[in-house]
């Protein structure tokens, strides 16, 4: 049993390391492609792929964010500007884990995006909007941008670990408590941990 547990631990470690290696190679390749192209949209696309291959503490993360922001500033067309800011915001959301990297960048981007969208809606000649509608359009956009319906990180973590916890306690009951002879100690421990984790699982799923 110990050997099998060791196998799983090593397997997870190896898979994680390989995964990081793949991401690092991606980052390295795309950052150089981004720097080598003269096409700003292509450069944004390559920088985006660097961010999507996010590795904590990698110097390429910051470089790619700076690269995209630089391109955004240099673009003059409002639609391309919107594409640029939206790309960066989206990339940062896609690398969210139990924490949100570069949260401060997202907070800076949202008003800019709301502003560009409101202006576009007014400039879109088929709409019937004028400058006086700007504020209300801006308010609609900023509310949508700031609305976060994703589940609570803390309760989500508790829910998945309590699920693993109660599944584990069932294994404990079966293998340690219900051998040829009943082992009351393990049965009790298994039963209590099962109840605790199960209740926690239900509650956290609801609260997440």
């Amino acid at each position: 049993m110990k050997k099998i547990s060791l196998f799983f631990l090593i397997a997870i470690l190896v898979i994680t390391l390989l995964f990081c290696l793949k991401l690092f190679i991606n980052q390295k390749n795309f950052i150089s492609e981004a720097k080598n192209t003269n096409n700003p949209i292509k450069a944004i696309r390559y920088y985006e792929r660097v961010i999507l291959s996010y590795i904590p503490f990698s110097p390429y993360n910051k470089g790619a964010i700076k690269g995209i922001l630089g391109k955004c500033k240099s673009l003059e067309d409002t639609e391309q500007k919107l594409y640029c800011y939206e790309t960066l915001r989206s990339d940062l959301y896609q690398i969210k884990s139990f924490y949100q990297p570069y949260k401060e960048e997202i907070e800076k981007l949202e008003p800019l995006i709301a502003e560009l969208k409101s202006k576009q809606m007014i400039q879109w000649k088929y709409n019937n909007f004028s400058e006086k509608d700007y504020q209300s359009l801006y308010n609609y956009h900023i509310k949508i941008l700031r609305y976060d319906a994703s589940p609570s990180v803390m309760w989500s973590i508790i829910s998945v670990f309590s699920l693993l916890g109660w599944i584990g306690s069932v294994f404990l009951i079966i293998f340690k408590g219900l051998g040829r002879l009943l082992n009351k100690r393990y049965l009790l421990i298994g039963f209590i941990t099962f109840i605790i984790f199960f209740v926690l699982w239900v509650l956290s799923l609801y609260l997440a």
Binding site: A11, I12, F19, Y54, S97, P151
Partner: protein
């Protein structure tokens, strides 16, 4: 660490490396987008809800490296590797830890790992490797009981796992048949422990409580919400799939017995494509070995294999002439557990051959053949790296993103079919890209019933889309803010009031009464504006034969015809494009005439290059 463990570690390391480097960098096509979104949102995907997969997906989404999509894809790699390890472990144990058994086991995990469909399912965000893991675990439980005698702990464990399979892909539950038959050999003990087994089964099944708990909450994403017993049954038993619902599909296994002929034929075809026909003699020898070892074991393994191969093929794959979609959606996915069992028996066949070498004193062969044989399946790596490698496949992500980017602020974007819809959900709900777009999904081509998961909460979108929420769609088309991937045909209810015109990689809907000349000017202006967003590189470098990727690229060519039209001059040779675009059972016409000159020739070259690179017959199972 001894040599055997070192070599096993090296083999699994090699397989894991190839899988990880072949993962799609953001999201995979088909269900991938939906399952990633649902995992991130702790929501409910399409029936049967897959609550265990979703919660594992949530766990993986917390990994602080990469993006949410590729993290969820990792689940498949992890369960593939564990499945391969258990396969090795079973063969090694059965061979009583012999040298020959060890090499037979290593050979079989190579054969399975680099077979077409197992490889394909190991690198995408789908639940089939998790399902295989459960099946092989249950198979292992049965083997232990047969060989070591009855142990109530194994009965309880199997009951618990059977409960868990009903919170993953339901086909895992079919292992109940062979396990029940094995139990009959020990019926006294089995029935005595049945009540407690039922308790363990229920505890495994209770993972499905997830569906209700998350269904009664306002959630970022629920495909169908479970709020009471009835809605639970609809989702759990897949009742909304009609004849493909769980109950109806299972019943079909016991009717029309002629269908078993096609089931056998089609399954044999899959074996040929995945393992070649040369593998069959080894499989037969494996059966011989099982017969010699234990008749009970043979019965158990053969019933398990029959259930996951021919019987499952009868339920889902007994078609006279399966087309490319049947092969891709059914043949490429559902039979993974049967392939695992096939490789298990196959490795026992290889082991039998090694035993024969020993029996006849062929010592040289006994020492060398096992080592040489390991290298043969390794050759399959090169095949997989040319047909299944998705490490550069940005198509599902970039195709959707470019469609979103091409739309004016606050547009409606309507999709139909899983591929476009699921990727749209990922981009909108996980990536939060272009949240001003209201993404709606048509349930059926010929209706106006749509799902609004990509346009929630309504209270926030109502202000931007009063026309849509108050039912004046024509006004929205007048404002040129209604886009769709659907070209309209007379079958669609909007056809009588709206015309659809190609717009970038999608279509724009315009009221029939509008001035055509204004529209042409609008189109020219728009195409010039969004031209920089064109991205043909991804469709010319994805490197995979994945059917949905090929379809997306083939769909995107309308953008290049459109661009060529925008830049046409009065001189030039006229080319007529007369295609039909199919949406499931429906087709819509696509007609356009373009004058080709130096100005626009490059777009038609791109069109031809994409068509050539993404030919549908590239799909390996089709050939």
């Amino acid at each position: 660490m001894n040599f055997k463990n070192f070599l096993l570690g090296g083999v699994l390391f090699l397989i894991a490396s190839v899988y990880i480097f072949s993962l799609p960098p953001v999201l995979s096509t088909g269900d991938g987008g939906e399952l990633i979104t649902v995992s991130y949102a702790l929501g409910t995907p399409h029936p049967s809800g897959y609550p265990l997969y979703v919660q594992l997906g949530k766990l993986f989404s917390f990994l602080p490296v990469g993006n949410v999509g590729v993290r969820v894809e990792l689940i498949s790699v992890v369960f593939s590797i564990i499945t391969l390890f258990i396969l090795y472990f079973m063969v090694f144990k059965l061979s009583e830890k012999s040298y020959e058994g060890y090499f037979a086991a290593i050979t079989s995990i190579f054969v399975l790992a680099f077979s077409y469909s197992f490889f394909g399912q190991s690198i995408v965000a789908k639940f089939y490797t998790l399902n295989s893991f459960f099946v092989i675990l249950l198979l292992f439980c049965g083997i232990i009981i047969v060989l070591k005698g009855y142990d109530r702990r194994i009965q309880f464990l199997a009951s618990f796992i059977l409960g868990l399979t009903l919170s993953s892909h339901h086909t895992g539950f079919m292992m109940i048949v062979p396990l029940f038959i094995v139990s009959l050999f020990y019926y006294k003990e089995f029935f005595k422990n049945l009540p407690l087994s039922f308790v363990f089964f229920v505890s495994g099944f209770s993972v499905n409580l997830y569906l209700y708990i998350r269904g009664i909450k306002e959630n970022l994403f629920n495909m169908l919400s479970v709020t009471d017993w009835n809605s639970f049954l609809i989702v759990f038993l897949r009742k909304n799939y009609g004849t493909a619902s769980s109950v109806d599909a299972t019943t079909s296994g016991f009717t029309n017995f002629y269908g078993y002929f096609y089931a056998f034929k089609n399954y044999l075809y899959l074996i040929e494509k995945n393992f070649t026909l040369f593998s069959i003699p080894f499989f037969i020898l494996g059966i011989v070995w099982l017969f010699k070892k234990s008749k009970r074991l043979l019965i158990f393994v053969l019933i398990s294999f029959f259930i996951y191969s021919i019987f499952l093929a009868k339920l889902t794959f007994s078609l006279k002439n399966p087309d490319i979609h049947d092969l891709y959606i059914i043949g490429h996915q559902y039979f993974i557990p049967s392939f695992v069992i096939y490789c298990f028996v196959l490795s026992l066949g290889i082991y039998l051959i090694y035993n024969i070498f020993e029996k006849f004193n062929f010592y040289f062969l006994k020492k060398t053949v096992p080592i040489i044989l390991i290298f043969f399946p390794l050759l399959m790596i090169f095949d997989r790296l040319t047909d299944q490698y998705q490490g550069k496949n940005y198509v599902p992500y970039s195709h959707t993103k470019e469609i979103f980017s091409s739309l004016p602020a606050s547009s409606i974007y309507m999709t139909f079919g899983d591929n476009h819809a699921f990727q749209g959900w990922y981009l909108k709900l996980v990536g939060r890209y272009r949240e001003d777009i209201c993404h709606i999904v048509l349930d059926d081509y010929k209706t106006m019933t749509w799902a609004l998961q990509g346009c929630k909460p309504y209270r926030l979108y109502r202000g931007l889309f009063p026309e849509f929420f108050y039912g004046d769609l024509i006004d929205l088309t007048r404002k040129k803010r209604f886009y769709s991937i659907l070209a309209l045909s007379e079958k669609h209810p909007l056809y009588s009031v709206v015309d659809s015109y190609p717009y970038f990689y999608s279509f724009i809907y315009v009221g029939k009464a509008f001035e055509k000349r204004d529209f042409e000017e609008f189109m020219k202006e728009r195409m010039k504006k969004i031209k920089p967003l064109l991205n043909y590189e991804d469709c010319l470098s994805h490197g995979t034969d994945d059917v949905f990727t090929l379809q997306l690229c083939n769909f995107s060519v309308i953008g290049y015809i459109n661009m060529a039209k925008t830049y046409e001059t009065s001189a030039g040779k006229e080319i007529a494009f007369d295609h039909e675009i199919s949406y499931g059972d429906f087709t819509a016409p696509f007609k356009m005439k373009v004058k080709v000159s130096e100005e626009n020739e490059k777009y038609l070259n791109i069109y031809n290059a994409i068509k050539k690179y993404n030919k549908m017959d590239k799909f390996y199972l089709k050939g």
